[in-house]
């Protein structure tokens, strides 16, 4: 079914100082400011956060490892444009999420992807995303106290308060021991 709501913004989250941002999920919003507010309410109500980013989904150039095998073309005209910074994200495990591995300078998304593949080569990478730095809308550090501070004092913020989580973990552990596959 087509998405008939507001545009989608992808949400990235830096959980701790010194850790790279990771892909947290997506929100619908009419504009970047509302996207940041929605991201805060949907993804940052409990854990600790240094900042959130939102990026219009349409600004993200994404390729899976399978798609990369088919190759993609880079227009030679476009490569002559002024280069700009692109952020590079990788996913290396099916259970994992996309995490930033670095950045490249490139003139368009395709050449950014080519540069990312060259600079951050990783045989385990199964998904690659690149997007220009200008597409990022970010929470400002001065707002952190009002955006993320209140979560620190909330009761029930940790998953250990919810027995369902530990229960599922035990079930999954037992499944692993039994070599039991869902698929």
């Amino acid at each position: 079914m087509p998405d008939t709501q507001w545009p989608q913004f992808i949400v990235f989250d830096q959980p701790k100082e010194g850790k790279p941002p990771f892909y947290a999920g997506a929100v619908h919003a009419p504009d970047p400011e509302m996207a940041l507010l929605n991201a805060r309410d949907v993804f940052a109500r409990r854990d600790s956060h240094v900042y959130l980013w939102v990026v219009r989904e349409s600004h993200i150039f994404a390729k899976t490892a399978e798609e990369l095998l088919q190759g993609f073309s880079i227009s030679s005209e476009e490569t002559s444009e002024n280069p700009e910074t692109y952020y590079v994200f990788q996913k290396t495990a099916h259970k994992g999420t996309l995490v930033q591995v670095g950045e490249v300078e490139a003139a368009n998304p395709e050449s950014a992807m080519a540069a990312a593949l060259a600079s951050y080569s990783n045989p385990k990478a199964i998904v690659w995303w690149v997007f220009p730095a200008w597409a990022v809308h970010q929470t400002h550090p001065t707002e952190n106290k009002s955006l993320f501070g209140p979560a620190d004092d909330k009761p029930y913020r940790h998953s250990s308060f919810y027995p369902t989580v530990t229960l599922m973990r035990e079930i999954n552990l037992a499944k692993e021991k039994l070599n039991w596959e869902d698929e």
Binding site: V27, M34, N38, D41, V42, K145, L147, G149, P150
Partner: protein
């Protein structure tokens, strides 16, 4: 602590707590019905925050009247009669459409921001501490609701019309929020709470230009009742629902 101020502050805290409780309860009715899923989560968060703030004020009230702060808030919420509540009428009004609810929340958020900015400097330390704890959350609330008010006010012909209707309906109720409690002047003099008149002026200075920038026209209608001691019919309705389960079995452990 000055003993004659204690009951006055207890009474003032009850108005603060009751406003937060009833507004939080009203807003929670949007859960599952907000315009989009993301806002549904955000608005439910906001409602929960208000309930959390209510508990903090009720607990301080309990300490001042010599009751157990862990158990007394439940007594106050579930077993008081409507005429014993001190909330303003605006918080009990039915939700109406989204414009009405978001504008009411905005008007209240500005009040809270103005009030807390003063209360963090209260000479009565426990009050200042709670204000400092609540304030960051209220700064976020205001950012959220003012973003909505601006977009709906400046949005389409329909969104502007609905916002204007909401403002026309809500405005006459706003004066009551700043009406001083009996004896509040004593608290103001002692530096425990800010002068409600000062708060009202600061609130107007923030709200009026913002609404005008959002292409909304300030109503000229007179303020309605200022006294908080008369429960509204809407409050009676909320309480009958809110208190129903607890009153089925007052001794139940839960």
């Amino acid at each position: 602590m000055s003993l004659d101020l204690q009951p006055l502050l207890a009474c003032k805290l009850l108005t603060l707590a009751d406003d937060e409780l009833i507004l939080g309860h009203r807003q929670s009715e949007w859960c599952g019905h907000a315009p989009i899923l993301e806002e549904d989560i955000a608005f439910a968060n906001l409602a929960l925050d208000e309930l959390g703030h209510a508990i903090l004020w009720y607990q301080l009230h309990a300490r001042l009247v010599g009751e157990n702060p862990d158990t007394y808030p439940d007594q106050l919420v579930y077993f008081r009669e409507p005429f014993e509540f001190r909330c303003a009428q605006i918080v009990a009004l039915p939700n109406g459409d989204w414009a009405f609810s978001i504008l009411r929340q905005y008007l209240f958020d500005v009040l809270e921001n103005v009030l807390l900015a003063h209360y963090v400097q209260s000479a009565y330390r426990p009050l200042a501490d709670i204000a400092a704890k609540i304030r960051p959350e209220e700064i976020y609330h205001l950012r959220h609701t003012s973003a909505w008010v601006k977009r709906l006010g400046l949005g389409t012909e329909e969104s502007n019309r609905r916002m204007q209707n909401a403002l026309d309906d809500l405005w006459p109720y706003t004066g009551q929020l700043f009406h001083p409690n009996p004896g509040e002047a004593g608290l103001v003099e002692a530096g425990w709470v800010a002068d409600p008149h000062t708060l009202y002026t600061a609130w107007q200075a923030q709200v009026i230009p913002f609404l005008e920038e959002a292409n909304l026209t300030l109503p000229t209608a007179k303020m309605r009742t200022l006294n908080r001691e008369l429960p509204s019919q809407h409050l009676v309705g909320i309480l009958s629902e809110l208190q129903q389960v607890a009153r089925l079995d007052p001794q139940a452990q839960w």
